[in-house]
């Protein structure tokens, strides 16, 4: 008699009628390939855990975002938010699609330059720009977004030394009805700080104020907040025009659109409940079109979207290390990846799919990472088919921030591959090795060699 495939015996209590804390969703349709590349083959070739990026999804998502805005407004430009995913291959896909770059440090700025982005297509944001960074950005005619008065005065001093007129914008923070209000960055609108900074810049006459910038928050679920922000920036632009006769050439609305992820504690799956690009575009573009600009003076609309453009294109493949039974009877599954490389599991209930065929029987479980720490929880409760040691899983919507904010803790960072438009995988970042890690460390001579 031919033997049949084994599955661990499971028994699950049925809660008829009541929605338990696990919700009613089941997430266990197996995902055996990504853009045509088999999960098992990817793990065999590149190891586990493994980050996988889909070039097809990036391009498709980007085109969708561009379409939503360009069908509503005549002048639109995206600038890729480097901090979201500054792997060079990923940045290059965005640049090929026509995106400029948005950076917040000298490191990111130089990465953009080395990727071939012309200096005048780089937006330099953030409170931390060193003198060297500023000099480079001024000489390259980059768009410098001034964050605070200290920076404004420093740039004025540098213009005297360099004999150049930098192109600048100011970052404006404001009340958009959404809390918490991000008032740490830039100049406040309501208190008059922003107007004050604008007057200083224009009246000292050392630089050209060409834009106004705001980034009102991240994972913003209310598109109307952007309408408020766009209207307030437009009011400033209008005041500049009336007082100084100068046109603002661009309005930069920052990033912050939600990705199709599920925030912790939300009963609705992100994919079903977050606003679409069309919702955000409608709010922003209507606000700009309905403000005081004449047709010729309509500013360029810049968007610095990060997570909404790349989150869905990222997958994390992993392997089951062990199963345990917790003292309260729940099943616990330990994976070979933890919060060290998937820190977004602190915010999101990431969808996790098994990577092999299963029956339709499921268990309520907790998913843990391998770190020896209590906080290493990937999912507090999830309904999955029984999985055994060595089985593989696919974690969805992990493309934003994980591959820049990952921590080298206990283990080293894994490989990243990108599946190209033809389904072929390319290694785009090598996993770290002990040799590489050690090459950064220096042990003083007198500490070398000991007897135990």
């Amino acid at each position: 008699m031919e033997k049949i495939r084994y599955e661990r015996p499971v028994i699950k209590k049925l809660n008829t009628g009541v929605m338990n804390k696990y919700g009613t969703r089941t997430e266990y349709a197996p995902v055996t390939n990504i853009d045509g590349a088999r999960v098992k083959d990817l793990i065999a070739e590149f190891g586990s855990p493994l980050f996988v990026m889909s070039e097809q999804t990036i391009r498709k998502t980007y085109k969708d975002a561009v379409r939503a805005f360009t069908t509503r407004y005549p002048k639109v430009q995206f600038a890729w938010s480097y901090k979201t995913h500054y792997n060079n291959a990923i940045c290059s896909v965005f640049h090929q699609e026509g995106s400029w770059s948005e950076v917040v440090s000298g490191f990111e700025y130089n990465k953009a330059l080395l990727n071939g982005v012309p200096g005048n297509k780089i937006i330099f944001n953030g409170p931390d720009k060193t003198d060297d960074d500023l000099i480079l950005a001024i000489n390259n005619e980059s768009m410098i977004h001034i964050d605070h008065l200290d920076e404004l005065y420093r740039i004025i001093e540098l213009t005297d030394e360099l004999k150049k007129r930098p192109k600048v914008a100011i970052r404006v923070n404001m009340d958009t009805g959404v809390y918490p209000m991000w008032d740490r960055f830039g100049f406040n609108y309501e208190s008059g700080q922003a107007w004050d900074a604008i007057n200083k810049i224009i009246l000292t006459n050392k630089m050209d104020l060409i834009g106004l910038h705001s980034h009102i928050g991240t994972f913003m679920l209310t598109p109307s907040a952007y309408a408020v922000a766009a209207t307030k920036l437009s009011d400033l632009a209008f005041h500049i025009k009336s007082k100084f006769g100068k046109n603002i050439t661009y309005i930069d609305m920052g990033g912050g659109f939600a990705s199709r992820n599920t925030l912790k504690g939300s009963y609705l799956m992100g994919a079903d409940s977050v606003p679409t690009f069309d919702d955000y575009a409608e709010a922003i573009c209507s606000a700009l079109l309905n403000s005081e600009y004449s047709k010729e003076d309509l500013p360029l609309l810049i968007l610095e979207s990060g997570r909404s453009l790349v989150d869905e294109a990222g997958f994390l493949l992993g392997t089951v290390l062990a199963n345990k039974r917790l003292s309260d009877g729940r099943k616990a599954t330990i994976m070979d990846f933890g919060v060290n490389i998937l820190f977004t599991s602190f915010w999101y209930e990431h969808k996790i799919s098994p990577a092999q065929e299963f029956s339709h029987y499921t268990e309520d479980s907790v998913i843990y990472g391998p770190l020896c720490m209590n906080i290493d929880v990937i999912r507090e409760n999830i309904t999955l088919p029984p999985m055994k040691k060595g089985d593989n899983v696919v974690v969805h919507t992990v493309g934003a921030y994980n591959m820049t904010q990952w921590m080298q803790f206990i283990a080293m960072r894994p490989n990243i591959v990108m599946i190209d438009m033809d389904g072929k995988p390319h290694l785009i970042r090598k996993k770290e090795t002990l040799e590489y890690m050690n090459s950064l460390e220096i042990t003083p001579e007198y500490l070398k060699g000991f007897k135990l």
Binding site: P9, I11, K13, N323, R325, G329, Y361
Partner: protein
């Protein structure tokens, strides 16, 4: 270890415990094991039956059987009075 006398087991793997009012579902292999336990088969007999029918090994069976039986007890489908 015995399956409680009054626990009802359906063909499709639906289990009802009238004492607690709880109902459960189990997968085919779980149903097979519960049936054998109900027939008061020994662990060794159950092991032989499972190993001959499924692609698995002794230590996997051991681990999963232990865990499953513990869940039957936790859910009061079985009691450990021997």
């Amino acid at each position: 270890m015995k399956i409680k006398k009054n626990v009802a087991i359906s063909e499709s793997g639906f289990i009802f415990n009238p004492t607690t009012g709880d109902s459960f579902s189990t997968n085919p292999i779980g149903l097979e094991i519960i049936r054998m336990l109900k027939e008061e088969k020994s662990k060794d007999e159950i092991r032989k039956s499972i190993l001959s029918k499924y692609i698995t090994d002794d230590s996997t069976f051991e681990k999963d059987y232990y865990d499953f039986v513990m869940m039957l007890q936790t859910n009061q489908v079985a009691d450990d009075s021997e």
